[in-house]
Subunit: 238 residues, 2 copies
């Protein structure tokens, strides 16, 4: 079995562990109700997320110095408030809305699945989220991480090789001893190219009811699971 | 109250949270019994620790590239085995002994005190230990960290300013919002100089029965406590 040697699990977070879309829609509705703003919050959430990859690309390409995701999210939010013609919002309200990403809700199977997996393996995020975002999210949602790893400690956004390799190095392991768990084929392929093991967990409604991408595993990953509980069933029965 | 603004606690670990000396002495005895080696394990433990600061100094001064504490500990161990005339030990046995630092035992008040403090504050080590060492120690000892921070993610050994300031930055806070908890006057003074809050926890037997240093707080720290439980009493009653 390819994964016999695995000594730690690292996780993509946005989409894989937490349901960012429905969380951001609900945060938008609360924000709107409190401030008397009405708009299409599903479209707002999708637009915010659509700015995610382009905002990191400036950092990945070296055009821009290292910048935390909190700051990239905030720049995107300011642009979106303009685009959606939402005006006269205080700095404190903008900061609170931006920290909606610190309050994302886990999928229902995430906490029970992770809790079971943690009995066997050390667990850490390997996310593009910054440390404070991931730590606050974990405290809020009860995610049982053993360490907070990923882009900020590695100072490289996925899918750059350094994001995976520096995470492996922080764990004191070599790539074949670490398995990335993710709902995204591209993330897993990038990790696989660096020698990590891979587990696909399907999240077919991450992007809402009309999702067209990442509906299923498109490559020969080490594990394919329908939920974090299913992954725990598979890994703990080895 | 100076600490009203505190939003996270970070901790020195060796000596403050865990009792490295008695743990290393016991690990030495087990190592000796298993391999038929007899020596003064208390002197061995003290000698190992006495090489700690000099080994980091080469990295701090820039004479040596960034090197994890696990590797510095192993180099010191190899030198000590020579010095104590302990020969013909396998690489696997040396690695296991070196990882004694991953298995250090907490002081009896550490886990209950940290568990209570964590109900109010996010907690992270700000230690010179590397991430894998601190993560494995936490899993083994039940230390309830929210993140693993310190020298390795900061790429700077305490008491260099960057060790404290980058830890604060990972938390998404400013220095006055972070309090260092430590049993060492020098560590706390270095943190204070960077604007962090400070809490001294007395560990008068860290260096054994004849300890002469750090027996008490020698400066005007924000808090002075006799144990992690006492610190929890003080901070949770605010």
């Amino acid at each position: 079995m390819a994964a016999n040697d695995v000594q730690a699990l690292v996780f993509d977070v946005f989409g894989t562990v937490v349901d960012w879309r429905s969380s951001i829609i609900d945060e938008g509705r609360s924000f709107g109700e409190r401030l008397g703003v009405s708009t299409d919050w599903a479209r707002f959430a999708d637009s915010w997320r659509s700015r995610y990859q382009p905002s990191m690309e400036a950092v990945r390409s070296g055009k821009r110095a290292w910048t935390k995701l909190d700051e990239l999210h905030r720049e995107s939010l300011l642009a979106l408030l303009e685009e959606f013609e939402i005006h006269a919002i205080s700095e404190a309200d903008i900061d609170h809305f931006n920290r909606a990403w610190h309050r994302l809700r886990p999928w229902p199977d995430s906490v029970p699945g992770l809790t079971r997996l943690r009995t066997r393996f050390p667990l850490a995020p390997c996310s593009n989220g910054n440390v404070a975002l991931l730590m606050n999210m974990a405290r809020n949602a009860g995610l049982p991480w053993d360490a907070i790893l990923g882009a900020e400690p590695a100072r490289a956004y996925k899918p750059l090789p350094e994001a995976y390799l520096r995470t492996v190095d922080f764990l004191g392991l070599v790539p074949r001893q670490v398995m990335l768990v993710a709902a995204h084929n591209g993330d897993l392929m990038a990790a696989s190219e660096q020698g990590l093991r891979t587990a696909f967990v399907a999240r077919p409604t991450e992007y809402g009811p009309d999702q067209t991408q990442d509906l299923r595993a498109e490559h020969d990953f080490d594990y394919v699971a329908s939920s974090m509980e299913d992954l725990a069933d598979q890994l703990l029965s080895l």
